[in-house]
Symmetry: C2
Subunit: 313 residues, 2 copies
DNA sequence: ACTTTACATCAATAAAATCTATTGAATGAC
DNA sequence: GTCATTCAATAGATTTTATTGATGTAAAGT
């Protein structure tokens, strides 16, 4: 049994296809086929059921794949240990970010980071929280920026900042005359929300403490971006909630529609999350430091109440 | 990096000698030397400081060795998974036993076990608790039978039985006339004890609740076996405590010297202990079942108070 | 029936791991 | 100071292994 063989097995398990797995492993298909056969012979079991299309794992194959992932991860950590010893911060690093954070946070720290850590080859992907968790667990992401807490025992977090929700209220709305908001003021039926899949929508619903979000009124508007929500609100179609950082980018004319909550302000917790195995921890810590550095200038300490980003059932 | 290379590194780290490590790995010394050099080149670090005699690990080398042990363990578990799937119980299994358990317990279950699990190649070693813990942690033992609790976070246990302490009291002793004993009756200064290194001695001292065992009286007798202690007690040199199973082997003439404790009887907890990684768990469970089976006929459920086998400081 | 897709098989080759034999450095004995 | 001895490194030969490109085969799609 070799680490190479285990990597081939993982590739086939992932792509459910020998040919594709071979390409991704930068070898020819016979090479991969033969190595996997060799491993199957050595263990005297079948890892894959080749009669099914697409190829399926056998029962024992599933267990072996899980253990193989374990082994390959632990093997990768050797390089991590060496890098750490050398103080070397570099290599490929795959970072996921949720869409409601990207436009405001990414421009704030990205330049700083890539200038400081020139040897890190950062690959950033915008993904939903759901996808991020999947990819963190199976190793396709090294870390991600998302709203927490997540209640996933395989994932650890480092909190980056707490971002209060801010009301955006058109002058036709009765709340426009209030100086500040309380949670009790908020009516989910008047709220313009992001599309399904955005955990920001879950947070807002949780903030409103609606037992069953399916029971919302008939008239609803959902959109994929805060820009659209703001325009809809400007048209008097309802109010909306924005994350604090987003309010910094508003046009002057729009700022008068903003209403902060009273303390403790409802807020979302934005964290750097990563697999509990703590692979590439040096880079994760470098990211944390860079982001914390820039965020301190933008968000002062506030008295906040954290709203969960997880959808109720 | 290959698993073979990691195994070679572990062998050198253990033996602090390339030649011996090569022998134990069943390869020639140049083979091992070159593979280790290759790994060092690949990682661009030195794992061993060859200028020191005997060979020493470098700082980074130590970290790598620890991780290598991790990886090799996880790799071994693949075979475990396969065995489990096939219901195969076999292969080499190294079991440690503490000396105060061996003579009574081993004959009770050994025959049953090797008859039932003919494919297990059982290697049994009699060792002190201290050595057992070391060898469990570094993988030189697969499991062991010892007195618990041990308070070692790397080690898990499955309790096998609770074995009461039984007083063995000569007719010249004033306690001889008591029908039963209480802990308060026991005076550590009158007690014949096993040599240092036996955890049974620690248990007895803990039982007596002596704050500082160094303050014992001048006259002390310590010996390496219960047989000697019994003979010394017969000579009127003091009383002793025996583990219950040992009392079953006494000559008829000696049985009259036995005095049980009142409930809750002080007892030692004997467990099957193993590394938390749970390697070879099928065999460990097979052992547990076999031993539990035979022990049920020998030790009825009793009202006991567990005495710790760990020496006070 | 023909094409496409996908994995297995085979023979050739490139790469590697391992071996035997030898060297060189360090240590200790006389 | 010379001479064994020990121990790891090195060199060269050999064997083993991984990989490749070409080919075969079975199944699914058209």
């Amino acid at each position: 049994m070799t680490i190479t063989q285990l990597k081939y097995v993982l590739a086939v398990a992932e792509h459910q296809n020998f040919t594709k797995a071979a390409e991704k492993s930068f070898v020819t298909q016979p090479t991969l086929s033969m190595q996997i056969q060799k491993l199957e012979d050595e263990l005297d079991i079948l890892i894959f059921d080749r009669s099914k299309k697409p190829i399926q794992l056998t029962d024992i194959g599933l267990k072996i794949v899980n253990q193989a992932r374990n082994i390959v991860n632990e093997a990768d950590r050797i390089q991590d240990i060496v890098d750490q010893q050398k103080g070397f911060i570099g290599g490929e690093f795959k970072l996921g970010i949720i869409p409601t954070v990207t436009p405001t946070l990414l421009p704030m720290f990205l330049n700083n980071f890539i200038k400081k850590y020139t040897k890190v080859n950062l690959k950033i992907e915008e993904l939903t929280t759901e996808t991020i968790i999947e990819k963190l667990v199976d190793g396709h992401l090294d870390a991600a920026i998302a709203a927490t807490p997540l209640e996933n025992e395989l994932i650890k977090k480092r909190v980056l900042y707490y971002e209060p929700f801010v009301g955006y209220i058109n002058e036709n709305d009765k709340l426009f005359n209030n100086k500040s908001l309380t949670i009790e003021d908020i009516d989910i039926d008047d709220m313009l929300l992001l599309d399904d899949g955005h955990c920001f929508k879950n947070s807002v619903i949780n903030l409103c403490r609606v037992a069953n979000p399916a029971e919302r009124n008939s008239f609803q508007l959902e959109s994929g971006s805060f820009e659209t929500l703001i325009k809809l609100a400007n048209e008097g179609l309802g109010m909306t909630l924005l994350p604090y950082l987003h309010t910094l980018d508003l046009k002057n004319a729009e700022e008068k529609y903003l209403r902060e909550f009273e303390d403790p302000k409802p807020a979302r917790e934005i964290s750097l999350i990563f697999h509990k195995s703590e692979l590439k921890m040096q880079i994760i810590e470098a990211l944390q430091q860079t982001i914390s550095g820039v965020i301190k200038g933008a968000i002062a300490f506030q008295n906040v109440e954290i709203i969960s980003p997880i959808a109720n059932k």
